[in-house]
């Protein structure tokens, strides 16, 4: 497995694999999201307490999971960039952070929209909400830091260190609802005693979760590919300029 991952660090091989995978994953993402969202927003039953407000869950939960998952991916890529100096890992981490920031923003906004009718407030400073807001700022910091230096390598290293340090926030987000009293409820799906969501709601939720996962893969691959092309243009332009001079 490590050998396979290292071999992916070759841009040419990466591009070949990405081109082969992209059409399939795109179709899968479209189908899963289409079916999951229509099922969740239209055909799934209302909740016995929240009524139709529960439908926010079909967007909020996958967005929140992807926000943390994307950060975990970004931290692993950053670690491998720091250790093995794979340029492609740096590029992929830079490609991942705006995607993660968007997922986090979606989770925060939909959470506020759900919180107002359910809890009676848009926002509280409890451990779960605050740690997710910190995650959002980590993404913004990563984006700013990676672009803050004229020397791309230095910016990449600074951002990679931030990404690794920020990974400490992930278990805090996950367990915040267990370690402390929070307004946010505990986990409903991944529990020792099984999910506490009725199957009629769990299935559409799983579809949108898988759909968001596939969407993440598509966005990440497209962003890495375009970044590779941008770098190649840069190299060609530089070669042309120096050839002229």
């Amino acid at each position: 497995m490590p050998n396979f991952l290292h071999s992916l660090a070759s841009p040419a091989r990466f591009q070949r694999i990405a081109n082969a995978v992209l059409p399939w994953v795109s179709v899968l993402a479209a189908v899963l999201l289409g079916v999951g969202i229509v099922w969740g927003l239209v055909f799934s039953p209302p909740d016995y307490q929240q009524g139709d407000t529960v439908r926010v869950m079909y967007i909020h939960v996958p967005a929140a999971w992807m926000a943390t998952f994307c950060y975990a991916v970004m931290a692993l890529l950053s670690a491998s960039f720091l250790i093995w100096k794979h340029q492609l890992a740096d590029l992929a981490a830079r490609a991942a952070s705006p995607i993660g920031a968007c997922f986090t923003a979606i989770a925060l906004i939909t959470g506020a929209l759900w919180g107002k009718p359910t809890w009676g407030t848009w926002w509280v400073w409890d451990a779960r909400l605050t740690s997710v807001l910190v995650l959002f700022f980590l993404y913004l910091g990563h984006m700013a830091l990676s672009a803050a230096f004229d020397d791309r390598e230095r910016g990449g290293r600074a951002a990679a260190i931030l990404a690794c340090v920020g990974a400490i926030n992930l278990p805090i987000i996950k367990y915040s609802v267990e370690w402390w009293n929070t307004l946010h409820q505990g986990a409903s799906v991944f529990r020792m005693d099984g999910p506490t969501i009725d199957n009629s709601m769990l299935w559409p939720l799983l579809l949108t979760v898988l759909g968001f996962n596939m969407l993440f893969v598509v966005l990440l691959l497209v962003r890495i590919k375009s970044e590779l092309l941008a770098r190649r243009i840069e190299v060609l332009q530089r070669a042309r300029a120096s050839g002229r001079g």
Binding site: V54, A127, V165, W180, N181, S188
Partner: protein
């Protein structure tokens, strides 16, 4: 040790130190990170006197009384070990009812908690109304509330 291994070690040790530091800070702060206190915390005086705090627990069955002015509600918050009487003047959230978990912000005044804000806490159970009715009909309802 190759340079790669050295970098891996530095990163690993650095993150391990950071994890320990964070764990210590969070343990030290655990009282302050907590969003609300339970009636038992209040009884054990963990929350401090006269401080503005949040009190969380279940609305005790049969304790909700609407007062004459129409917007003041008196009820009891319990964690099934200790109970605290609460008074609140204002609009209650839709989910407020007997048996519901709520969080009230305010301060203690002569044994009564005077709330300035009441939030409903949602639990992690989601089901359609028909399933809830079926569970109640079968006598397998474990939630305290009667929606």
């Amino acid at each position: 040790m190759t340079r790669k291994q050295r970098r891996m070690t530095i990163l690993g040790v650095g993150l391990a130190c950071l994890a320990v530091a964070t764990a210590l800070v969070l343990t030290a702060l655990s009282d302050k990170v907590t969003f609300f206190y339970s009636p038992s915390d209040l009884a054990a005086d963990d929350a401090g006197h006269n401080a503005r705090i949040r009190l969380g627990g279940m609305v005790e069955e049969g304790s909700v009384v609407k007062e004459g002015d129409g917007i003041t509600t008196a009820f009891v918050i319990t964690d099934f070990a200790q109970a605290v009487p609460v008074r609140y003047t204002g609009v209650l959230p839709d989910l407020f009812r007997e048996g519901q978990g709520i969080i009230a912000t305010g301060r203690m005044d002569q044994g009564t908690f005077i709330a300035e804000e009441v939030l409903a806490k949602h639990d992690e159970t989601y089901m359609p109304p028909e399933v809830a009715d079926a569970l109640k009909a079968a006598g397998k309802w474990q939630m305290g509330d009667q929606p």
